[in-house]
Structure formats: structure tokens, C-alpha cells
Symmetry: C3
Subunit: 355 residues, 3 copies
């Protein structure tokens, strides 16, 4: 695809966008700046660590920020470029154009098992060995890959994609355009047991899980249903692999949970909360809008809107950075303290040494 | 269901239980205290954080503790109630009565694949695409949901439930009334490799996994078999989602392992051990009966029976709480220490300033 | 099997190996030193914690290190033995001989679904409900267990084993003799989203995953593909259960990643890197050859070749051990510091007390 043709498909490019077509190269793909070769597109963001790599860049075309010096360098090297406010977003659109998604054709594989009481929309693809339970509803244009299982009374909105071997338990409600990745489990029983003299007594988990529109749940991640009420993931929330979302958790819109995050039962997340990898959130914790937790932190209690927290128990990130730096000097501190104590002991030991 | 009829099904309610039927409302469901509306049951425990919510509670009926003031408030608001020693346990029983479990009917789906040498008990449900390997035994009244796989020589006791896509590897022995949740893997190869000059040499994992009666293994959790001997989970042990139990681990009865716990090979847990979310237990660690580890702690060596530990490396919880509080003051401590050092340096620098 | 016959199958045993056949016992199996009984083989390593158990050992035969005292004890107890340089490696070979692997017979189960454009090698076993997508290639002598799914254009080298319910996404390239355990997911979409004013915009993940020869990926582990380029696991790398390998990660040969490790996008690991359980590695971190991270550590930035690191943020293990020990004394340190401050305050408070 010619660079000019690609540009015509990027939402942020218009007639006024600065550019240098440099012969309008033919592009066959895209790559990272330090790996791109002839026929490949790449991009640079403001402040990108790879900026230095531009001087050795072998790409044929670049999406650049509004930076005259970078643009000059590209032109000098004969690399075609266009200037974008958000080159990364442009790169995402370019990848969509260069590598249009393969979409399995509508239809039901003969090995799929669909309960007669289920309702399947138009344009739906049901792959090999898919199972759709009684009363479940699959919206138009959904794609279910091999081995995906819907128990009874599951509702999938339009345009959802359910990857191979994912499982949705009874009563799960999934909005439009959601993606459930392989091995993810939606709507499984929450971990609720009452201690008794004879052991753990199961608390029935009669609630359900609601995924609002455009939610994505990563491979192997689990979203449990609660004993009563619902577990709810707000619209546009994206969840990475191997994340656990406990029973009764509610998140706002547009949260992002990185891999191996665990959220215990009843926690509440506001809109746009970002939790980095391996973060843990305790039962009934409350996290305000746009708060961010850095990797491995552990959150109890409350985090205010917009706060950035770290560590376990989590504290404000700036404080944590200073505390962590001090932690690494603890042996020194302990030694200094002992020296001071010894000095004081000598001063006050009554030995009569003149001062 | 009338409240009085529901009460007749709760094991802890008898003629002597205090109550106020308040018109004996008809109940259609149950909910949390702050969410319950008309026609719904809820409950309050002693010390429950939601106690204040009673004054605005919209529930039609309540399970209350032996607390005259709460009972008075409920009666005043016209809410039916009964007093129970353990309202939470009563609520669990009430949920069972209000939402009796759907049980798939016995029988084998035509798409299930059962080896001729396998033995299937009476009343067993085998869902779509279930696979039962050679020599495996499925006890009476087991339910296997779509896509569950038993390799060869697996034994499932009576009344087990295996959820969609769970996998049991060769030789696994499962007691009565166990629940294996979706994507869980039982009896997979332990992670054992011998370092050699030419790389890692696999240590064959010829042992097996034993789950005693009433064990529950959460979604995506893995219980590995050892090279020799067995991995064993004691009766009534409950495991949440995404937990890893390494080869040769042995637990006592009634343990509870929260989500994302990891237990390395050869560790030993006593009876009633509770590990909170994301806890890690090192190879060959030994944890005594009823010990508790708070979330994210990491255990090496030995934990005494009844101890509560926290942190990494785990230390007694009370000490850890004080250490963590002090950690947050490390920058201050470092500054104070420098001031003292400077003061001492001035005192001893021989500048001759009179004192 | 006679001990002498078993010895003939161990690569490290030759005519010159020290031994005492002690009647050449018949061996039916193997066990740990403290559990082995009559008819069982066991082993002892130099420095093994179980050395004391030799005095009560019930095994019929032992693999011992070059330790005359241990050999004398074994002979005295009438236990047959052979001396090996690496008894653990010998034990691995002995287990292979005593418990030869069951290999499912070649052939395709009638319920398997194989796209006509896929290419299946000779001697391949395709179990029940296996799915092979368009254009995929399965090398000779591969074994795919029930429910394993290959999307389109996956390549499996010769002699691979794919366990029940594992999933390989489009374009994944797997070398020879790899093992993909149950529920593992290879080649799933990396977690890449661009923040925009209207929410997260998906970055298409058009790259692919490459597993070199003899790689093993544990149950439920996920290896994501990147937006461009590849995610690559070096030959002989072994990955335990529930590990997340992010998009664009590259490892060298012979790495070992223990359970629940998480590696964020773009990190680089050298050869022979060992990460213990629950370790986290941040985006674009770089870890040198043979570096080791102890459990739960969190790595940012760079770790030098051969270094051993611990803690979060990870620091050299020796320093961390001292810092952790000091952490447990923080409350004492804080108290001592206050005492010194108070003493100084008394000295300098101008109260006129004679000095």
C-alpha cells in the first residue's frame, strides 16, 4: 500500500497535515523504529526513548510528532513522513489498515452444540465445539472461537468476540463489542464460605456478572459473581491476562488492569483507574477516579481520586520512592545509630573524661 | 416464599428463636443490607459495618444477631426479623432455599467421548464435549460440564462437580463432593528440572494428586503432581481462583487459599491454615495449624500454629504493622539521624568553641 | 526391574562406578528418601537435608554421591547403591526407566476438527475435540491432547506435546520437542491500548510468538504476541504455571521462570536467567545472562549478568538480606532515635543545667 493511500485512512491526517511523501513508498508492513526496514512504516512519539534510533532508521515511512528537527532528519534520510498530534494512535490505525483483521465467516460449525432455546443473532460465527446453553442469547455479528462455552442464560451483546476455550457462567450479561480472551472465565462462583464448627459452609453465589460495552477480559482472567447483587465492569474497561476480579467488585468506565492484578470481593474502582501488574486490592477497598497504582502495590482502605500510590501497604508514590531509597540504606542507618548511641554512652558513662 | 416458610428451612431457627414476623412478607430474593428492597431478605452480623444502614433499610425481612436494639429498630420500621446466633450462616441457608441450584439432568451428551474402559456411576451428567479417558472412574451423581477432560486413570468420588474446561491429569484421585471450577488443572506435571551442562533435564513426575472429600479448586488454579509420592489437599480445603499448588505440597483439613496464592514444591500446611490473596509460600516451608498469612506475604521456613504473619519475608503481624508504619517514616528518620550526626560532628570537631 | 538392569540404563554409570549391589534387589518404583520402602529406589545429593534420614531409610537401593561415609552406611544397612557424580540426574533417568511414558497411539480421533488446508505429519496423535485451523502445520510425532486448539497458521515442530485445552493463536511458531501444558495460551493479543479522549483505542497486535526448541510452557501460562515484531522464548526455556509473558518479551536460552512470574512488554532476558515465584519484571527491563531473582522481587531497569537480586525494587540479594533484617528492627531503631533526640534536646535546651 502506498504511503499516501495509507494516510488517507488515518483519522488524524487531513490536507493541512505537514508531510514529506519522499517518493510515496510502497508499504508492506510496520515495525518498531529500531527494527523497521525497507517497505516498513514506523513511528516516533515525543520523548520516545528511540529518538536516537532515527539516525540509523531503515524504515521507508514514519509517523512523526510536531518536531521540526525530527522531520528534517527524516527528510534528509529520504524517509517519507507525516506529522501527527498522536503518532501512536496513528500507528494503531495504520496497523489496522495494513493488517485488516481476518474475520471468520458467519455460520455454525457442525460440531457446535446450541441449545434449542438459545437465540443466535445474524452474522454470528460459532466455531468448532462451541457450546451455547439453554436460554442464552448471542447478539448479531458475534464471533465465538473453538471450544468457547456459554452456560445457561448468558447474554452477549452485538459484535462480541469470545476466544477459544473461554467460559461464561449462568446469567452473565455482556454488552456490545466486548472481547473475552482464551481461558477467561466470566461469572464463576465467588469465593464465599462461612466458617462453622464443622468446616467451611458454602455461601451460594446467586448474583451475576455484568460487563458493560467494549470491555475486554484477558486470557485466563476470572470475574466472579457475588452471593447477591452484581459484579460490574464499567464500559471500556480493559483487563490483561491472569487477573482475578472478586465477587461484587464494581469498576467505573475505562479502567485498565494489567496482568496478574487481583481485586478482592466488594472493592470499588472509579472511572479510569489504572492498576499496574501484580497489584492487589483488598476487600471493600475504594479507589477514586483516575487513581494509579504502580506494580505490585497492595491497596487497603481508600485511595483518593487522581492519586498515584505504590508499595504495600500502598502510600503516595512520591513518599514511597523516598522510603524505598531509604530502605536500601537501612544497614548504614543502623550502623550510624549505633555509633551515636555508643558516643552518647561514652559521654554519659561517668568515666570522668574531660570534655 | 413466605418468611415463615423460609424460617422453617433454616437449621438454626427453632420455636424458641426470637422473631417478629411483621405480617409474614412474601420473599422473592435476597440482597445486601444497603441494596435490599421490598420482597427481599437481608442480614446483619454483630459488628457489621452496615449496621448504620438499618435505619434506611428497605428489606422486607432480616436475619439479625441477638441484639435487642437492632431488633427494636427493625420492628419499628415494620421489617420482619428472626434472631440467629450466626446470621451469615442463616443467610447462606436462606439463599439455598430461595435459589435452589439448577442441576443438569443425568445422562451423557452425544458429543461426549467416553473411553470404553471408563466406569461411569449412576445419576451422572456428562455435558457436551466432555472427555473421559481410559480406566477413569466417575462416581455416582457427578456433574461434568461442557469440555471437562479427564485423562486416564482419574477417579472422581460421588457427587463431584467439574466445571467447563477443567482438566484432570492421569492418576488424579478426587474424593466425594469436590468442586473443580472452570479451567482448573489437577495433576499436571510438577515443575522439576535438573540443571545439566546441556540445559534443563526433565525430572519425570510420576506421583499423583489426591484431593480429599469436599475440596474445592477455583477457576484456573493448578495443582501439580510430584516426581514421586503425592500432592494432597486435606478434606474441606477451599481454593480460590488462579492459585498455584506445587508438586508434593500437602495441606491439612479445612484450609482456605485466596486468589493468586502460590505454594512452591514440598511445602506443608497444617489444618485450617488461611492464606490471603497473592501470598507466596517457599519450597519446603512448614505452616502450623490455624496459622494465617495476610495478603501478599511471603513465607519461608516455619510458621508456628496459630500465628498470624505478614510481609516478606513474613514476620508476626503485630511486628509487621509497626515496621510498616515506621517504613513510611524512613525519610524523616534518615533526616533526624543526619541532624544528630551533624550535631555530634560539631561537638567533636575541635573547633574550640567554648561550651 | 533388577537394580543392575536399571543401572545399565543410566548414562552416568559405567564399569568404573563404585557400587554395592547387595543382592541386586528387584525395584518396583522410587520414592523420596524418607518415604521409600522395600522395592523402592531413592537418592541422596551432597548436602541434602535428608542425609540424616539415611540411618532410618527403608529403600532397597540408592543413588549416592561420592561420599565414602554415606556408602559405608548404606552397605551396613544392606541397601544396594551406586555412586554418581549427579545423583539427582541419575534419579531422573531412573524414573524414566521405571515409569516409561505412556504415549497415546498415532491417529486422529473422529471428533477432532482439522481444516483441509492444515498439514499433519506422520505419527501424530490428535485427541478428542482437538481443533486445527487453516494453514496450520503439525510436525511428525506431535501429540495433541483433548480439546487443544490451534488457530490458523500455527506451526508446531516435530515431537511437540500440547496438553488438554491449550490454545495457540494465529501465527505462533513452535520449535521441536516443546511442551505446552493444559490451559496455556500462546500467541494471544498483547495488552496494548492507546489512551484517547474517548477511551482506550486498541493497538492491533500483528506480530507473532516464537518458541524455540525444547521450550516448555506451564498450565494456564500466557505468552502474548506484540503489535509488531515477535515475542521469543529461547531454546530450552522452561516456564511454570500461571506465568504471564508480555508482548515483545525476548528471552535467551535455558531460562527458568517459576510459577506466577509476570514479565511486562518488551523486557529482555539473557541466557540462563532464573526468576523465582511471583517475580515481576517491568516494561523494557533488561536482565543479563544467568542472573537470578528471588521470589516476589520486582525488577525495573537493568540487572547485570550473574547478579542475584531480591526485593522490590530489586537490589542485590546480599544487601536486601541486610535491609530486610534491619526492617524488622525499625520500631527499635525509631525508639533509639527518639531517645537520642531527647538527650540532645536536654543538652541544648538552655535550661542552664551544669554540664
Amino acid at each position: 500500500m502506498r504511503f499516501s493511500h495509507l494516510l488517507s485512512q488515518l483519522s488524524a491526517v487531513d490536507a493541512s497535515s505537514d508531510r514529506d511523501l519522499a517518493g510515496d513508498p510502497d508499504l508492506s508492513g510496520a515495525n518498531a523504529l529500531d527494527a523497521a526496514g525497507s517497505g516498513e512504516l514506523s513511528f516516533l512519539e515525543p520523548g520516545n526513548a528511540l529518538t536516537a534510533a532515527l539516525s540509523a532508521c531503515g524504515a521507508s515511512a514514519l509517523l512523526l510528532p510536531a518536531d521540526a528537527e525530527l522531520q528534517r532528519q527524516a527528510s534528509e534520510r529520504g524517509i517519507a513522513w507525516v506529522a501527527l498530534k498522536d503518532p501512536r494512535l496513528g500507528f494503531a490505525e495504520a496497523l489496522e489498515a495494513l493488517h485488516p483483521r481476518r474475520r471468520p465467516s458467519p455460520g455454525q460449525h457442525p460440531s457446535a452444540v446450541v441449545d434449542p432455546s438459545a437465540s443466535i443473532g445474524t452474522g454470528v460465527h460459532l466455531g468448532a465445539h462451541v457450546v451455547i446453553g439453554a436460554g442464552s442469547v448471542v447478539g448479531d455479528n458475534c464471533m465465538l472461537h473453538p471450544g468457547a462455552v456459554l452456560y445457561e442464560d448468558v447474554v452477549l451483546g452485538e459484535g462480541c468476540e469470545v476466544h477459544a476455550q473461554a467460559v461464561l457462567h449462568p446469567g452473565s450479561r455482556v454488552g456490545r463489542d466486548c472481547v473475552i480472551h482464551s481461558q477467561a472465565v466470566i461469572g464463576s462462583e465467588g469465593f464465599g464460605f462461612v466458617p462453622t464448627a464443622t468446616g467451611w459452609h458454602k455461601m451460594p453465589q446467586t448474583g451475576l456478572v455484568v460487563l458493560e460495552d467494549a470491555v475486554e477480559v484477558g486470557c485466563g482472567s476470572t470475574v466472579d459473581r457475588p452471593s447477591v447483587g452484581e459484579t460490574r465492569l464499567g464500559a471500556g474497561t480493559k483487563i490483561d491476562n491472569l487477573v482475578h476480579v472478586g465477587h461484587g467488585v464494581v469498576t467505573g468506565r475505562g479502567c485498565a488492569l494489567a496482568a496478574q492484578v487481583g481485586i478482592a470481593g466488594g472493592a470499588r474502582l472509579g472511572h479510569g483507574v489504572i492498576l499496574a501488574g501484580q497489584v492487589g486490592v483488598a476487600n471493600r477497598a475504594v479507589i477514586g477516579d483516575r487513581a494509579i497504582a504502580s506494580s505490585k502495590s497492595g491497596i487497603h482502605g481508600e485511595v483518593a481520586a487522581g492519586e498515584v500510590v505504590s508499595g504495600y501497604p500502598a502510600i503516595p508514590n512520591r513518599l514511597w520512592l523516598r522510603c524505598s531509597a531509604a530502605f536500601n540504606k537501612l544497614p548504614e542507618m543502623a550502623r550510624s545509630l549505633r555509633q551515636l548511641q555508643n558516643a552518647q554512652a561514652r559521654e554519659t558513662d561517668g568515666s570522668g573524661a574531660p570534655r
